[in-house]
Subunit: 343 residues, 2 copies
């Protein structure tokens, strides 16, 4: 590995994927793509946190069903979420009784969990590994900002936490897409302190990870069909473009941000876009991977971004550290070699 980039010589196959989302996400432009859209965002539970756990459980049940597998067919589970102590995962996933490594990557968790699951599968530690994450608007709002009952006004730069969960099964052999490389992000903090502008806080981390990956693999943005970032929203996306512009690279033609794809920004009143672990997770599992399987994409960079602050750290005046993890998806299962493939 160099600078966090790991090329996979025996690229794991993404065997199955599932996305479960809430009502508002179902009403957005991607609504028809998700495996399940639930008008009742309590998911039949008494609390929002339990609702999020239940949603994660449903995503795993769905992905197992789509793969025609049972939990016993999975060797290793990587998961995490935004809630304090990651209770979305610890309560949502315990019924599957799987060996479990818990993660905290904030909204980068889908890429982090797929990365670690892919690394475990390629090394032979697991024949099949499961990567899962979620976020829920109502549990996130009261934890990070205000209880919903306050009816607090939202800043124009604020993003809307997606109610959604994504689950992916990686296995050692199988069909495309394959995970041919990953890049572990570095904590990047350029001093943004505005809790209502997470896109700005995360954009430098996304830039750094993508830039590192392109340098280490001697590739350029145009070598990929598409680059998807997690949840930069429109402010973070603008900053990302500016940062690449300074390097003489125009990302616009090949880039989309899951936070901008999820909602009709103006009509759905989500301000700067979607966010949350569930944002990139449900767009990946509901839209990107199905489109990949349908032949629309052959080479995709999936770059989920996370903001690693807590309400306590920002109340204490600390700036917001960002991180971005990258997963390179391809329909080729041969080792990734820039010269051969992209020349």
């Amino acid at each position: 590995m160099q600078n966090g980039v790991i090329l996979l010589k025996r690229p794991p196959s993404i065997r199955a994927y599932a996305a479960v989302v809430g009502k508002k996400e179902g009403e957005g432009p991607l609504g028809d793509w998700f495996d399940q859209v639930h008008a009742d965002t309590t998911f039949g539970q008494k609390t929002w946190e339990q609702a999020e756990s239940r949603m994660q459980q449903m995503a795993v049940q769905t992905v197992l069903k789509k793969a025609d597998l049972s939990a016993a067919d999975i060797d290793l589970l990587f998961a995490g979420d935004l809630l304090n102590q990651c209770i979305g995962s610890s309560f949502g996933l315990q019924s599957f009784e799987l060996p479990y490594y818990g993660l905290y990557g904030a909204c980068s968790t889908m890429a982090e969990s797929i990365s670690l699951a892919s690394l475990a599968v390629q090394a032979g530690y697991a024949h099949r590994a499961l990567a899962v994450t979620s976020s829920h608007f109502c549990s996130a709002e009261r934890q990070y900002r205000m209880p919903l009952e306050y009816g607090g006004q939202r800043a124009p730069s604020a993003q809307w936490t997606v109610t959604g969960s994504g689950a992916v099964i990686l296995q050692s052999t199988g069909k495309a897409p394959y995970v041919r490389a990953v890049c572990a992000g570095r904590i990047t903090d350029l001093g943004v302190c505005d809790i209502n502008n997470m896109g700005a806080a995360m954009a430098p981390a996304a830039y750094r990870t993508i830039r590192t990956f392109l340098e280490e693999t001697h590739t350029s943005p145009n070598d990929y069909d598409h680059i998807f970032t997690g949840d930069l929203g429109h402010i973070g996306t603008s900053i990302l473009y500016e940062l690449f512009d300074q390097d003489g690279m125009d990302l616009r033609a090949v880039h989309d941000d899951c936070g901008l794809m999820m909602y009709n920004l103006k009509e759905q009143d989500v301000h700067a876009g979607g966010s949350g672990c569930g944002c990139s997770a449900s767009v990946l599992c509901g839209v990107i991977l199905p489109q990949f399987a349908a032949g629309k994409y052959h080479n995709v960079l999936f770059v989920a971004t996370g903001a690693l602050m807590s309400p306590t750290s920002y109340q204490q005046g600390s700036s917001i550290p960002g991180i971005a993890h990258l997963v390179y998806l391809s329909d080729q299962d041969t080792p990734f070699n820039r010269q051969e493939e992209l020349a």
Copy 2:
């Protein structure tokens, strides 16, 4: 892998380790063992959370110095802590600029981070990987229980969160101890709801992980010089013994719990013992690994235990899920084979 057990054919070497602790830990029976004991538990910072971050940073600085390495010599970093959104790690470790996978395993984090670092090193993803965690009494108390200023009375079954941090550098070749196997824990919840009795909540997870490892490797407790659990305290330890008694296995002669080793229980007024990510981390790095290097041990099971609830989940009446991750330390760098080694 079977049931979370992964045998490492090219066991990574533990190149260096460091433990940094606070005043109370320095006054305990292990006080002389730690690399650094700080009488000022603010570590020169303005808030307890920043103090914890600073302590983690110092643990990494110390382990790098002991290994005669710089941060640039480390390929991959695995870390996490107890604080909401793991800010102990995200603020404490960002200055090292390392590719970083954040973890949440509560008090099991030292074993989880060493496990994932070892797996990454054996697979060749990293030549050297760093595993880090911490806890701080003052940041944990106000997050999980009450602000210190309340002077709340503690239940007799409660444990005392250790102010401490541990850091371990794993590398592909080198001296003993070696990590010859790991066992990923499963979330285990037998319905304990008492937030003042975490040992009872975690003991079944410790039992399950150790039992699984013994079964999969066809070994018995007496095949190991010692088995160390993370922070069960005296109530959790009693339950662990009872559970093994039911299987006709007496763990007492080969077992110690880091939570019982850290303090003079009565004189230091810590009730049921120590706890926190920093408990097993600092005992491992300050005591177990140095004693291993000095020839006292040849085969050790290190089993850190975590409670995966949050204040929100227990206020909502949920029980406390536990998890335990296991790391098998040995002075042999050959593949672990029960028949050959232990017959």
